[in-house]
């Protein structure tokens, strides 16, 4: 079993990036062992907080050595009260962190052609991935999409890491006017892609997985499901995924995921229990 740590982290820096906040924190032990696609959870609002549930964040950058020992960066999009609280943290504040969590992206053994696709802050975990793919001699083409320019994350940085980058925005404020699914098929053909890695909203992942499967390209998607525990004990974060034996099961996205093979997730059935799921109600009449 993989190692998971519970640590007290110190906030080193909070800075703005477009409409996001990038938070650097010490994460002794976690930074050293984190793999691309894994995430951390952070407790919100201190010991007496009325927010009982931890929030999940993809590990964006890691530094395993330095003045502070292991440190890592997360990218925070302010969504509700937890992420708002987090964005208001300042240098030297402490955070209760658990990680690294989840199944990482699996990396190709040989130098193949890879496309990485990020939607909004979904690009956060793709930077370390891109680096490691490059280290393995892979070609890495990136597609970053968002509704509007300020919601793109890390275009400049990714330009440095990727062989080439395509940007899309729904409103056309930056790059191609449209979404990642509009440019992906042509890109896959042009670079003769072997693998597509994606992280972003469920709708985007569903479209990317469908395109990759249609083009017979292997895909890995990192999903975002609401989680209560993040460590595999509560069963809130499940979605229907087809196993090696062809059987659909409701699997935990926090431990079995967040990265799944795109062709194995039953995207259009997410949010339901498909009738042929292992253990599904037989009669349909069920509490």
């Amino acid at each position: 079993m993989s190692v998971t740590l519970q640590v007290s982290s110190e906030v080193l820096d909070v800075r703005r990036a477009g409409s996001y906040f990038v938070i650097s924190l010490t994460a002794p032990g976690i930074a050293e062992i984190a793999k691309p696609g894994q995430f951390i959870t952070i407790a919100m609002g201190g010991e007496e907080s009325s927010m009982m549930l931890r929030r999940s964040f993809a590990i964006h950058q890691v530094q395993s050595r330095g003045v502070y020992g292991g440190t890592l960066d997360i990218v925070v999009s302010v969504h509700g009260k937890g992420t708002k609280w987090l964005s208001e943290r300042r240098r030297h504040d402490t955070l209760a962190v658990v990680g690294p969590l989840g199944t990482p992206f699996s990396l190709p053994k040989s130098p193949v052609s890879c496309v990485i696709v990020g939607g909004g802050y979904g690009s956060a975990p793709l930077f370390v991935l891109a680096e490691q793919l490059r280290d393995r001699g892979c070609r890495v083409d990136a597609v970053l999409g968002a509704s509007t320019e300020e919601k793109l994350f890390g275009v400049l940085e990714l330009k440095r890491l990727a062989t080439a980058i395509t940007v899309t925005t729904d409103d056309g404020s930056s790059g191609f006017k449209g979404n990642v699914a509009d440019v992906l098929p042509e890109l896959i053909d042009r670079v003769n892609a072997d693998v597509v890695y994606a992280c972003g909203p469920m709708g985007m992942l569903s479209a990317v997985a469908e395109i990759a499967t249609r083009k017979r390209v292997f895909s890995q998607c990192s999903v975002e499901e609401a989680m209560a525990c993040g460590i595999g004990v509560c069963m809130t974060c499940v979605l229907p995924v087809i196993g090696d034996d062809g059987v659909t099961r409701m699997v935990r996205s926090c431990t079995d995921g967040p990265t799944f093979r795109g062709d194995r997730v039953r995207w259009s059935d997410v949010g339901t229990i498909p009738e042929d799921t292992y253990g599904a109600p037989v009669s349909g009449v069920r509490s």
Binding site: T4, M52, L53, R54, A228, C229, M235, M250, G279
Partner: protein
């Protein structure tokens, strides 16, 4: 029923250095009163990465049913002030795989296990108990009767004293005579003491108090119920006063029965509240999601809290809040002069 209920702390002079944390009840002798609440710790394996799972009193496993179950559609949870709603729908691997994998792991690891069982009919509960009896390898059974009774148009067993008793009877009949059986009650009833009375008469060794309260959240954005299952069970510190009241009431009615208390325990003093109200042991659920080490941390905090109050053992604190009010003297716990007959032991 003749055991003493009110036992005085033996050390009255300052915090004791060490407190005997042994929880002895229902024939069990656990090194700690801390348990994991069913459904909040799976079968202990994941939490063992955060603390030594054998160091706490035991693991109460996720309620297991006969067959594998997919559970309900998502979203299955919504955060609420100091709590959450869940509507998992008892997703689980079914009894066979539970025994082969989860129970086997717990036994290998040397953890003490209380197996929580659930069923759609009283017969299902019975069959599960029978199968478990043949397998062994656990300390007690917790009967989750807060699930819908198919034979009673889905009415929850725990809300009807007759159905609740039926389930307990069947489980009792199919279990080893010495096996402690805890009926886990729902607070969503008019009179929880009546239900407790009914399950005790049916043969339950003790009761676990409390399961979640039925609740609902409407998402202001979608303007629809936030959970796919529409309603869900409310848990966490938000329900703690309700849980403490239930433990108190049942303890008052039954001075001797074993009680496992739970509902929003987050710290040592929270656990202490339940112990003082009459719980012999406590389970930690939702707080595990906030702090995966919570059961272990709270054990330490409870020990300190007991020492600070002059208790030399956990057993002395059980039901201590029920001691008669004495207006003529100082509280005995802070007074050096008090003697054994300052307050009475009740017995029948």
């Amino acid at each position: 029923m003749s055991r003493a209920l009110f036992v005085k702390p033996s050390s009255l002079s300052g915090p004791a250095l060490s407190v005997d944390m042994t929880a002895s009840f229902a024939g069990l002798e656990l090194p700690s009163p801390m348990l994991t609440a069913s459904g909040c710790a799976a079968a202990g394996k994941e939490l063992d990465a955060f603390f030594d799972i054998t160091a706490i009193g035991g693991v109460v496993t996720k309620s297991i049913m006969m067959q594998p179950r997919s559970g309900r559609a998502t979203p299955r949870m919504a955060e609420t002030p100091s709590g959450m709603l869940n509507s998992i729908g008892l997703q689980g691997p079914g009894l066979d795989r539970f025994i082969e994998e989860d129970l086997a792991w717990l036994n290998n690891r040397g953890a003490r296990t209380i197996v929580s069982i659930a069923g759609e009919t009283a017969e299902e509960f019975g069959k599960i108990a029978q199968r478990l009896r043949n397998v062994g390898g656990f300390e007690a059974i917790e009967v989750n009767i807060s699930c819908p009774n198919v034979a009673d148009r889905g009415q929850v067993f725990a809300c009807n004293p007759v159905s609740a008793a039926q389930v307990v009877q069947v489980v009792k009949r199919n279990s080893d005579a010495r096996m402690p059986i805890f009926a886990k009650l729902s607070p969503d009833v008019t009179d929880i003491v009546e239900i407790a009375d009914s399950v005790i008469k049916a043969g339950a060794t003790g009761v676990s108090l409390i399961n979640t309260l039925l609740g609902m959240v409407i998402d202001p954005v979608t303007m629809r119920p936030a959970l796919a299952g529409i309603t869900g069970g409310l848990s966490g510190p938000a329900i703690r006063p309700v849980a403490v009241r239930c433990v108190w009431s049942v303890r008052q009615a039954f001075p001797d029965i074993p009680i496992i208390g739970m509902g929003g325990i987050r710290s040592g003093t929270d656990a202490l509240e339940f112990i003082l109200a009459g719980a012999n042991a406590v389970s930690v659920g939702t707080s595990i999601f906030n702090d995966p080490s919570a059961p272990f941390r709270i054990h330490g905090e409870l020990q300190v809290a007991l020492a600070e109050r002059g208790f030399s053992s956990l057993a002395d604190a059980v039901s201590y809040a029920h001691r008669p009010v004495d207006t003529t003297r100082e509280d005995p716990i802070t007074s050096e002069q008090s003697s054994d007959d300052d307050w009475d032991f009740i017995s029948e």
